[in-house]
Symmetry: C2
Subunit: 331 residues, 2 copies
């Protein structure tokens, strides 16, 4: 296992301390239980947005804490759900009485723990609602997931809902908005290599020198098919077809395209993917009016990429364009 | 060789077409000869800034084209200097009579070709000046370089000089500013793995499963020493010591720290590195007032990281903070 770490035990804590040292202007890291909150939390007069999940997907979610996006994020151990007490503490820290929305990726542990945390917070008198992201079209059920996995659309939901919170939406409005983003977002990914969970010390799965995993999950869960490596354009075609066919797009629809790197794939390859994906979107009559290209929801050092399409409307576009100031997204 | 590409021959062209499709609002890609210019080039009433170098280091340089940074960038073949005709065409395209500064990383081919292009442009009546970046403290001479290699400080010089151009600096002022940035910037990097140049089809160098290369160059050039893998904190200490000791810092100096990923290293590891690097800077009496953490000057899919320190003054800080709108840097 080759990693720039001190020890498997310290990966998450060391990284949190790095984030704290780097971004004190934007966020404050709380320990025991661990969560990352906006430096100016709690922010008056708005619904608060909390997310979280296993570490190893950086910048998700901690890198999305800041003005216009998340109020707090709860980092679990690597590829492990955060615990209810983290979520409860984060929710308490950002609540100002307008309610708190939990954005939850659809993995069994995350869903269960966020539900438990929501119950605990409600018992404290905090209004909490949840929205689950399950946008991965690759497989129906998966390791650690009943139903579809939550992947790239999470980034888009956190941005769009964060903007809505800033604009004064109510808790129920933001919850419905998040569900609408999820309903209109579709993703699929693939891997050229496995990743290695620090504690495990060996690759999560193994691929031959000429193989790839189509439809891989962000924790290295099996996808649709293991097959021989193909040229990028063919890979993109195999990712785009299930994404486009899963949602009833109409010619002329405006979409946001996220081409996401899995952690070990360099930007030059993501642009090669974007070229073909944009071409296929155009051929399908879709108008890509917004895009994001880079490593936004990673899987440690996995080499691979995923594509997310989100069907836009005027509301989504306006909220996407609204100012954001976080470590990973800023405009 | 596992890459998301179509063929080694098409890597650069496919990626350029992806950039063009993705960032038409910010830049325009010109072909034969290839260069990337601001969408609104030539921009009236300012000195123009042009850089370039081999591809495979994305987002450098094309991702830094836009308002507040580069007017144009020339992408060569992977790890190969662009040709003088690319540089000449780019220089002509952005020149508005105020002069053009070439920012050149210190590699023999780049320096020679930029000199040739400058001569060609001067023969056309364009005022051209050059500034060379040679900030890598790892080794004195290297494969493809007489003197120190140009690495991370290039990103900082392009940002700071781009802001100065927007603010109305003259050609000579921007040239001197760039040289001052170079004089105050120091970098060193290391690799956990090699990268594979697409045309070569096999790794540039080989490292054992428990080895790393300290002081590696951005093309995989040999560094100071190949050694057994160590914990991140020890690696950071070995990178910071030569950087700090090379420049006569004084206690209380303000610095900008860039923790750069080499392409295959995920963000979680960069934050682990930042934590220790910031701690060591503090112990040396340095005050890290600005920072940048992420993959900004990569080496294809190489796993590894580099650290750059730039000694700030009020002028540098102000220019660093000035607005920038490029694919890779935006605020």
């Amino acid at each position: 296992m080759k990693k720039l770490i001190n020890s498997p035990e310290n990966v998450v804590l060391d990284a949190l301390k790095g984030m704290e040292a780097a971004h004190a202007d934007l966020l404050k890291v709380h320990y025991e239980p661990n969560f990352i909150a906006r430096a100016d939390a709690p922010v008056k007069n708005k619904v608060a947005l909390v997310s979280g999940g296993g570490s190893g997907h950086e910048p998700m979610h901690g890198g999305f804490v800041g003005k216009g996006m998340l109020d707090a994020a709860c980092p679990g151990a690597v590829f492990t759900s955060p615990t209810p007490d983290q979520m409860q503490a984060a929710t308490q820290a950002v609540n100002v009485g307008k309610g708190v929305l939990h954005i939850v990726k659809n993995y069994t542990g995350d869903v269960m723990n966020f539900e438990m945390a929501a119950d605990l917070c409600r018992a404290d008198g905090i209004e909490v609602e949840s929205a689950v992201i399950d946008d991965d079209v690759a497989v129906k059920d998966s390791t650690w997931t009943a139903g579809r996995r939550g992947v790239g659309t999470t980034v888009l939901a956190e941005k769009i809902c964060g903007a809505a919170c800033e604009a004064g939406a109510t808790l129920i409005e933001v919850r419905e908005l998040c569900r609408k983003v999820n309903a209109r977002g579709r993703s699929m990914g693939m891997a050229l290599t496995s990743c290695t969970v620090p504690h495990a010390g060996k690759p999560t799965f193994s691929l031959g020198e000429d193989e790839m995993e189509m439809g891989v999950g962000i924790h290295g869960e099996p996808g649709r098919e293991r097959m021989k490596l193909k040229p990028a354009d063919e890979i993109v075609t195999m990712l785009m077809e299930p994404i486009i066919s899963d949602l009833p797009y109409r010619s002329g629809d405006e979409v946001l395209m996220l081409v996401n790197g899995m952690g070990g794939t360099p930007l030059i390859e993501l642009y090669i993917i974007y070229r073909k994906a944009a071409e296929l979107a155009k051929a399908a009559g879709l108008n890509v009016t917004r895009r994001l290209i880079g490593p936004y929801i990673t899987s440690l050092e996995m080499a691979g990429a995923s594509i997310t399409l989100l069907k836009l409307d005027d509301q989504f576009t306006k909220l996407w364009d609204a100012p954001v100031h976080t470590p990973a997204l800023r405009w």
